[in-house]
Symmetry: C2
Subunit: 217 residues, 2 copies
DNA sequence: GTTTGTATCAAACGATCGTTTTAAAGTCAA
DNA sequence: TTGACTTTAAAACGATCGTTTGATACAAAC
């Protein structure tokens, strides 16, 4: 194994372990020593490869979180396009499907949403990255899609609130995974996740459906 | 000022400042020195009055969070009782009203929801306290109220999911305050908060309304 | 006036933090 | 084989962490 390959592997192991630990415990609760121990490398590796702990955190978003978010958005796009009809309901269903089942493993999904939730509650420099490169374009696209189902020039703000509420619900059932399990007594097996998709779709339809052409109010 | 009074004041200042800092930055990101500096008392005061930093955190929930949650629930109960008719819609409206406007100052509300969000994402011993003493009884009461509007013996799980989704939405718009402002460009003034209550009520009605007797599906 | 108990204080404890240094091990080109 | 360069390693840096100690101030009890 060449040094360059070893280098790359070490760097990637650090990114993986760092992301898992940051998602699980938060930035301050994780030490560089924990990360390097989990990645089976030397303590100094973080500062050698990333310059600082803070920059490793940012790189986790640049190299892991943002690409994964793009994969999620792609999955959503394809799932939505595959629906035989398009309406606010199918938008909601596709979103729930992508974010709660989708292409990610359970562990990956929870990492993803926990990191997002931490940045939502206490934005750092990483939030700028995520907001500009991922959230804004995706929300903009969603809004354009949904706008075609509503009367013209009406309720741009309402549209935004509904989109945010959908994300809120989806995010909640991922990042509060453990708490939901403890409150409801239900495990997150395939059946329950499918049930959640159904629920979130239905729950979201009113907000979106209220802006559907000719929908009953 | 007697020692006992001085003691009490110090202890309460510690609880106040600790809660604010824990909510704002999280447990690990706050040092005992920061807390005692903010409370204008000696470093040793935390261990003298509370035994440890960890126990101070727990005491924040016992002495501050839980009582405030009870005030919120009382406010909800009175607001709901004051409605001239009762339906899933008025339940949703009362919840949004209590949690987004209600009896709390903006700062208090954000503290409250940020602490809750942190425990939801990463439950500690404090979550047991909150779940048993606050969440379970409140959710149980809500479920009983809502059950009277739905067909018998149907959708107990659906009821739970809808209640959780309502809390998810309400929580989101409080704890992600800063992020929502940066994404939407809207400040959380009185007008926007009233708009949020209206939105959340409407957004939640489908899930709850779907179980309303004779509701249109 | 002495004792008792409570609260606060400065100071220091050992442990751990993020980071830096210095040396060693390795590959690759010349 | 030499020299340049990249990566890993052990050790130590100063700073800060949560906690403990011992002294001091002071009101209340006797």
């Amino acid at each position: 194994m060449t040094p360059k390959e070893k280098h790359d592997f070490t760097k990637e192991r650090l990114l993986n372990e760092a992301e898992a630990l940051f998602a699980q415990k938060g930035y301050d609760a994780v030490s560089v020593r924990q990360i390097t121990a989990a990645a089976h490398c030397n303590l100094a590796a973080v500062n050698y490869h990333f310059g600082s702990k803070q920059n490793l955190y940012l790189e986790v978003f640049r190299a892991r979180w943002v690409p994964r978010a793009r994969r999620l958005q792609e999955y959503f796009g394809k799932f939505f396009a595959a629906q035989d009809s398009h309406s606010p309901t199918t938008v909601a269903k596709s979103l729930a499907e992508a974010f709660l089942i989708g292409p990610l493993s359970d562990e990956e999904r929870q990492r993803h949403h926990q990191l997002m939730a931490r940045e939502l509650g206490q934005p750092t420099e990483a939030f700028e990255l995520v907001a500009e490169q991922v959230m804004r374009p995706f929300i903009k696209g969603l809004a354009e899609t949904l706008r075609s189902f509503m009367p013209e020039g009406q309720g741009e703000e309402r549209l935004m609130l509904n989109i945010l509420s959908m994300f809120a619900t989806v995010l909640y059932f991922s990042f509060a995974h453990m708490a939901v399990t403890r409150i409801t007594g239900r495990e997150y097996d395939a059946a329950f996740k499918a049930r959640l998709v159904e629920h979130i779709t239905e729950f979201s339809v009113k907000g979106l459906g209220g802006i559907e052409k000719g929908a009953l109010l």
